[in-house]
Symmetry: C2
Subunit: 356 residues, 2 copies
DNA sequence: TTTTAGCACTTGAAGCGTTTGAGTGCTAAC
DNA sequence: GTTAGCACTCAAACGCTTCAAGTGCTAAAA
């Protein structure tokens, strides 16, 4: 209460309590702490200190005759100031590198793979998401004539990706018509965001195509769809079953609420985006009530952003508040670094494939 | 024991027990059954009948002083002979039609959407999967020159779909080279399954391309990848949180095992494909131990196959053994029918888009 | 022969008081 | 400021009793 700063001994005790609680999940008592060589004090002294820490709000007591558990403030202080650097084992480092060796092409695959990795390296539920920015443009169009009523529209996007759409018509189309609409698109429909695909532009194209004006509508529609697909926020969650290991999720009611949030991608995306404002060292840590969703009041969310090709992608995990912060933070940092290297490094790797 | 056939009254009683147990999930007693107007008999008589049914293996008693619960044999008989046709409400029918109105293009999206539908209409976990058949061929190739080191390979597949791959090279390529390799591919690489892409063929192409032979390897590789992507079995699971509603999944250990199976797609695919042999009326029902996985020994799996464009797709649900069979069977049938109509009907619908 | 009323019996679930033990806060001595 | 000692608290575990649901069996009724 009086002192804002914690004495070194209080810090040691708080750290020991959080570490122990993370480890075995139960309230921590003074006797147990007295065995810690770092803290050379008797149980009685430790009890006094713990009473202080509780008064300051860093600890809570489930009931009078139990040990102490870190409060959310306690976890917060631990994460910000006390957590020790985890050093990944040689084999963990090797495995991350191995799993991130091959470049993936499709954003969808990337998200799946990356969240799977996060889950498997941390033993918590892995998540990966991209957010929509609404700034994609088509730099160039091309087309392939498939049959009298079908053609393939090829779009080279400002993100560096190439996307295609098969367009099926209810009327026949000549190769010459296709050439003309492609040319027109390259003149009038490049460097526009989806807002730019306005009615006047469409009408102009229709006029230009004359008798074949009916081709314009499905084409513009396909362009629009493609842009919004690329732009749309998306999220992948892998390894929800990992959560069931932890006793905090043995209450089925709470678990159901949490799974509900994790399954409704839109809602989860909302939750995450409303809170992803501040940042510390690039890694975001949201503990319990710091999360925007009530269903997540007993869970911690950790993630880190990576920028690839101008787009933001994030990797992280979801787990109980007594998460192994030091390991998770290290692993997510390594994963993020690995992903960044995978995409932002010049080719020369074993698999120089498509760059997203 | 003596009689193989069940008397009409025994059938009525068995049906009433299964219906009641599905409804409120608890063992059913003789007193409760006596209130059923269909069965006009006293509790004592019903007790005698129930003792018979238990001896025949259709019922089990959790403990002496409890009512009876259907055994797996009991559920099996119920599903095969006793279950009453559920009649979907007008609003349910309308909603299915509404949700299946727009044609989807990508197999991936179809699976996601369809499993989501199954989950939302039945309140059990929805699944949708396609199996790999290994028979895809490329009918025709085309290409688009993107830049000196990149081109787009367009493949028209035997399934009627068009797939594309961006190919990135480590050396520059002329438009003329691209024209030649495309032409060569159309001559030598059409109508082959992935087994047909053998070394002799590749070497022949390399010889044919002369100085630009290095283009052959990445091209063939992309073709091969595309075929295997289209061919690969895939499965989507939606709404696992629905399971938590049912008390049979309040045991966290079992739930974890089940979720483990549902999350590992390969394993789930194996489980399903090993047992998808027989069929009755096109709908597959696997109750408890009939499932190939031990983790599913307390769950029922129901699905139905639909054929679209020569490929098999299946929709279904996973839930507790005391599933609402009549409703689920009806819903899955309707869903399957709706999917079939969506893809196998001639266009003329509001959205005549790409046909898978 | 089948059905039914009556009754003794079984058994898990629920309720309740007791014991146990881990852990605390406080006081007084160091 | 630190520590030993001790009385105190309280959830969890245990054992016991009661309760109620449901059965199987017997003997009478249909």
């Amino acid at each position: 209460m009086e002192d804002k700063r914690l004495t070194p001994r209080k810090q040691k005790i708080l750290r020991a309590i959080v570490d122990a609680h993370i480890h075995h999940g139960e309230p921590v008592g003074s006797k147990y702490l007295a065995t810690d060589v770092q803290i050379s004090a008797s149980p009685a002294t430790i009890r006094n200190e713990m009473a202080d820490l509780e008064a300051m709000g860093y600890l809570v007591q489930p009931h009078t005759s139990a040990g102490r558990v870190p409060s959310e403030l306690g976890y917060r202080f631990y994460v910000d100031s006390l957590v020790r650097q985890y050093t990944a084992t040689r084999s963990e480092i090797d495995e991350i590198n191995e799993r991130l060796r091959y470049k993936l092409t499709e954003m969808d695959e990337i998200l799946s793979e990356v969240s799977r990795l996060a889950a498997s390296f941390t033993d918590y539920t892995g998540i990966a998401f991209k957010s929509g920015v609404g700034q994609v443009r088509v730099n160039k169009y091309d087309s392939v004539y498939l049959s009298a009523k079908e053609f393939l529209l090829v779009m080279m996007l400002s993100t560096g990706t190439v996307k295609t759409k098969t367009i099926r018509l209810s009327f026949p189309l000549s190769q010459e018509d296709l050439r003309r609409i492609t040319e027109a698109a390259n003149i009038y429909l490049t460097n526009l965001t989806s807002d730019g695909l306005s009615m006047p532009v469409i009408m102009k194209l229709e006029a230009l195509m004359g008798a074949s004006g009916a081709i314009v509508h499905p084409t513009v529609k396909a362009i629009c769809e493609t842009m919004s697909e690329v732009d749309t926020a998306d999220i992948k969650v892998e390894g929800v079953n990992k959560l069931l290991k932890y006793p905090e999720y043995s209450d089925v009611g709470e678990l159901r609420d949490l799974l509900g949030v994790l399954e409704e991608k839109d809602r989860l995306m909302d939750v995450i985006s409303t809170q992803a404002t501040e940042e510390s060292d690039g890694i975001h840590v949201y503990i319990g009530a710091e999360n925007a969703s009530d269903a997540m009041k007993n869970t911690t969310l950790i993630f880190k952003d990576v920028y690839i090709g101008g787009k933001k992608l994030s990797v992280g995990v979801i787990g109980p508040k007594r998460m192994n912060y030091s390991k998770v933070i290290d692993m997510i940092n390594r994963l993020a670094f690995g992903i960044d290297r995978m995409f932002n490094e010049e080719p020369g790797l074993p698999e120089p494939k498509d760059k997203y």
